[in-house]
Symmetry: none
Subunit: 415 residues, 2 copies
């Protein structure tokens, strides 16, 4: 039997629906991957009695409980007090926690508000979980059979504390027989197409198959039981990856760091010591922003009007009635020259700005990559809200670059 | 006292974290707006005993319960059976429901699988909730003090059934006195600083005060009870807004559409028929991408090296050892000229690209806005991960623009 784990979310913003509880889903996935059985999610607001009663209830029922929220500096942050009451643990001033909170503010050149002092009070005997990403330290207490972990509710603090401090601790405290999750990440192919391709492959009944589609990719998930032999696993994963062909941009096992399409492109660009300059239209800066911090992106430009851009770049078009793709190629040549970059990537789209903004109209996004004096290009129809189109346009341009770097060409027909 | 309402979500996909439970948040918002107090969210998987126990527990505790999920045709859809067991209500074949399910399939020219017959079995005495959007009818039962409503888990079926069948029913069954929620959105001031300022203002005990901090803003929420006199409400909101001063970028009542900082800037830019060109550094395209679809953004540029940019723009700096802010001002002048835009906004930062990438180092982001031949500027220390710095840099530049548009100047000291 796997040990059981419950998720407990605290905060009025959750229970009133102002915030969707993404923490509960994220933590559950982590726990399942480790080998827990997740039995229940509970969320309540800022009511001390409810919190106390629930903490006692869960501690009597589950082997582990991960709680998020209610650790902030304000009066309505009641979790620590609730733990103290529920388990008769007096609150004790933690000098180390206090020093860290003070440091957080001094690093930002801000005075520490008096209210933050409260965050240094921890239940007696609790394990402190240092928060390097915000002011509220987490903590953990053992109550009878149940190990209860308390983390801040802000995902950008909660996730790193969990990964850094809790993930390594759990296998020490529980007998865990984790399944092995393999995630095959694809871009440019839909969930039903993937399912049809998968018919060409026998998945054993003991392997759980799942799909997760988002705006950024479709993930095919294979969950192998703990005792599954490794050679058979490797062979099955290779079979599935072959069926999904060059749509696959990343293949991840359980313990590798998760990567996304920009991450994969970044690795390939760094490896080849390439450089790039970009002109964006439909994605309006999003493409550049996804490449934050990389060394290889020299310049990126968004221009509302292509006409104005060609004028500014002093490009004289040879003929009238040039197609958008011809203009894009001219721009790529100029862009490469101006920046003395190895590659130049230019994105244009047909249909105009009104169609881009209209959720009922589709536009065709055309991306061209200039590399080794050769043009590589792709054209795709994108539909939906303007934000969806923006996102797709950015990822399609990145995927053109990824395919070129991996295969030396854009190997698929445009859709 | 408002009647209490709980949300109960059923399904392995929720409890294992494969699906984020957006239904719970959506239903809670609906319930709060109607005048319920939402006290708890619970989610469990496909275990009959858990379901039965929880249904009894909730029925003894809440005045209303909205349950989603578990109404499908497959073996692991156990909600109806759990209701039958929990409340000793035998399942009865509902001919109308069955006819609707048959019709659903015949309209799609598909044979009805035998398993779907199960969906026409409803607990004795239940109110049937016709599902015009899928196969699973919902239903509702009264158990003691509690009215329990059961809806399919697919949001595209759940939402219209709720809006069509439940929303009109609730005011008939409950004495509802909806509260009024006012949200005051601020940027550039922290939650604890807000709390300290709020000490200058008496919030009556009947008004519920809450805060929500995210990367993009801090929201101060005032929840007024139903009978609260409007003049007093208006006066209190004005008092709080005054204390928060020009950090306030939006003030929202319960029924206005929600807006964010880019949305507010967009309104102000459109109203004034202004135009803008941007140079981004630390935000690397994110600032432009947040302004997707606007008419007033003519050009945006990211350049990795400021030196290269000044060369490319043929700017000759008059003196050596110019400060970053001097360079930024020169760039703004050139940018405005090149684009013939009314405004030019330039962002630079000190500390270099290594410091930007290092989560343990802070950088100072300097934004300068050129408008009416006058420079308006702001400088802020930003810390944390590179993505956090990127986001803050983009919003700080937008906020400089917002303050100029609202007040004609950047009225606060830099921090």
């Amino acid at each position: 039997m796997n040990p059981t784990l419950e998720i407990f979310s605290q905060g009025e913003e959750i229970v009133t629906g102002q915030t969707v509880d993404t923490n509960a889903a994220w933590l559950s996935q982590q726990a399942i991957n480790l080998g827990f059985t997740v039995t229940r999610h509970t969320a309540v607001g800022d009511k001390l009695d409810d919190l106390v009663a629930l903490l006692r209830e869960i501690a009597g029922r589950a082997d582990c409980c991960i709680c998020t929220g209610g650790l902030g500096p304000t009066l309505d942050d009641l979790t620590t007090e609730a733990v103290a009451q529920a388990f008769a643990l007096p609150l004790v001033f933690d000098a180390t926690a206090f020093a860290q909170i003070q440091q957080f503010f001094s690093h930002r050149n801000r005075p520490m508000p008096e209210s933050n002092r409260k965050q240094a009070m921890l239940p007696q005997g609790a394990l402190r979980l240092d928060n390097e990403w915000g002011t509220a330290p987490g903590f953990a207490v053992q109550q009878g059979r149940c190990w209860l972990v308390f983390l801040p509710g802000v995902p950008s603090e909660m996730r790193p504390i969990f990964l850094d401090k809790i993930l390594p601790e759990l296998p020490q405290r529980f007998s865990l027989y984790p399944s092995q999750l393999i995630t095959i990440k694809t871009f440019g192919i839909g969930e039903s197409d993937i399912q049809q391709r998968m018919n060409g492959c026998d998945i054993p009944a003991s392997v759980q198959l799942g799909f997760r589609a988002s705006l950024n990719d479709v993930q095919t998930k294979l969950l192998f039981p703990h005792a599954y032999p490794e050679p058979a696993r490797t062979a099955l994963v290779a079979d599935v990856a072959r069926l999904l062909d060059d749509y696959v941009y990343a293949l991840e096992g359980q313990h590798e760091e998760s990567t996304d399409l920009p991450g994969v492109v970044n690795q390939l660009m760094d490896q080849g010591k390439h450089t790039l300059a970009i002109i964006e239209t439909a994605s309006q800066g999003l493409l550049a922003s996804l490449c934050i911090g990389v060394d290889w992106l020299l310049e990126s430009r968004y221009e509302q009007s292509l006409e104005r851009l060609t004028q500014k770049m002093s490009i004289v078009m040879d003929a009238e009635n040039l197609s958008d793709s011809d203009v894009a190629k001219q721009l790529a040549l100029e862009l490469q020259k101006h920046n003395q970059s190895e590659f130049a990537l230019v994105q244009v789209y047909t249909g105009g700005r009104d169609a881009l903004a209209d959720k009922n109209q589709a536009v065709t996004v055309y991306s061209v990559l200039l590399a080794d004096k050769t043009f590589h290009d792709s054209a795709h129809t994108v539909a939906g809200s303007i934000k969806r189109k923006q996102n797709q346009a950015a990822l399609l341009a990145l995927d053109l670059l990824r395919r070129f770097l991996q295969f030396g060409q854009y190997s698929k027909l445009s859709t």
